[in-house]
Symmetry: C2
Subunit: 194 residues, 2 copies
């Protein structure tokens, strides 16, 4: 049987996250992971059942957590614009900072999961997307947000925020919160000097 807790398990998962991030799922071998941890590649199977399951578990957690947290924001009693503000701030913090690597892996390697696992992940992401969408729709309905296609608006916002994993350097000049503030200003007020 396999153990799914303990120090070694965490070490293996952390190494997998690091390597999947750098070389993708198919570009990383069990050998690569084992070497980095300092054990034989067969020994990894004491802790996990398969490489695929490993990928699934890495991606699953932040995705579940993400939806849960966003839902709470959506359910708060706040004006839609404030909700949107909070949602963007959370998204940036959660996906571009805390779970930056997992986001990258999710975006690039979910497609390599078997259909069963893939479906579970994609459903969760759809729920996340729909929650974002509902905030935008609420804003339009209440007359706070312009009547632009809410789906496109959602994709635009998720696009600019998700993109951060490709360029944002943790040791850069701006903090993630500062970036989020600029994004929010841009999204709400636009670039034009009126």
């Amino acid at each position: 049987m396999t153990t799914t807790s303990g120090e070694r398990y965490a070490e293996i998962i952390d190494t997998a996250i690091k390597l999947f991030r750098k070389k993708n799922y198919h570009g990383t071998s069990m050998q690569d992971i084992a070497e980095e941890v300092g054990i034989y590649r067969g020994s990894i199977y004491h802790y996990i059942n398969s490489k695929e399951e490993m990928l699934y578990h890495i991606v699953k957690r932040p995705v579940l957590k993400g939806f849960e947290s966003l839902k709470k924001i959506q359910e708060e009693d706040l004006p839609p614009i404030q909700k949107l503000r909070r949602a963007i701030e959370y998204h940036v913090r959660h996906y571009s900072m805390e779970h930056r690597a997992e986001l990258a892996i999710m975006l690039e390697d979910t497609k390599h999961l078997s259909e069963k696992y893939q479906k579970l992940i994609r459903e969760e992401l759809k729920k996340y997307e729909r929650t974002f969408l509902s905030i935008i729709k609420e804003g339009i309905q209440k007359g706070d947000i312009k009547e632009l296609d809410p789906k496109i608006v959602t994709f635009a916002i998720l696009g600019m925020t998700n993109w951060m994993y490709r360029w944002y350097a943790v040791d850069g000049i701006l903090s993630a919160n500062e970036v989020a503030d600029i994004f929010i200003d841009m999204i709400l007020n636009g670039l034009l000097v009126e």
Copy 2:
């Protein structure tokens, strides 16, 4: 020696684009490509020198063309806002429509190229980015665009447009130009009513 023209070559490259897009570089074997084309996998080497070179050539063309075209837009005698408008329209058309698959491959698989090839691609992308940046800076300087960090603004725009390859369906309700128009409206005027 290898031939780099002719019908078969094009067929092989097109198949590679299709499969790399669907299963990534490391998830696609020469066998996969050969099977789809209907030849032996060894036969592919009559047309190319290596799998890596193949990836490089697939990614190279749209990236070179992209910079060239954007540069022309930047050099036109137009107000910055008009340039920005055109740049976004071009970007969406070029990368999200005409070379959608190559963009996806470029974004996800450039990291698997050898350092030599990787550097060439990344340099070209930097040039593209800097050209976009210079349009924003020009707009700020002339007082047409708000004084937000121009780098962040550039990344925000490139993020929302590049993201399209993940959600935009060619057979959807909106044309790519219509999406671009919504993006531009959003970027220039923001979402806030009033």
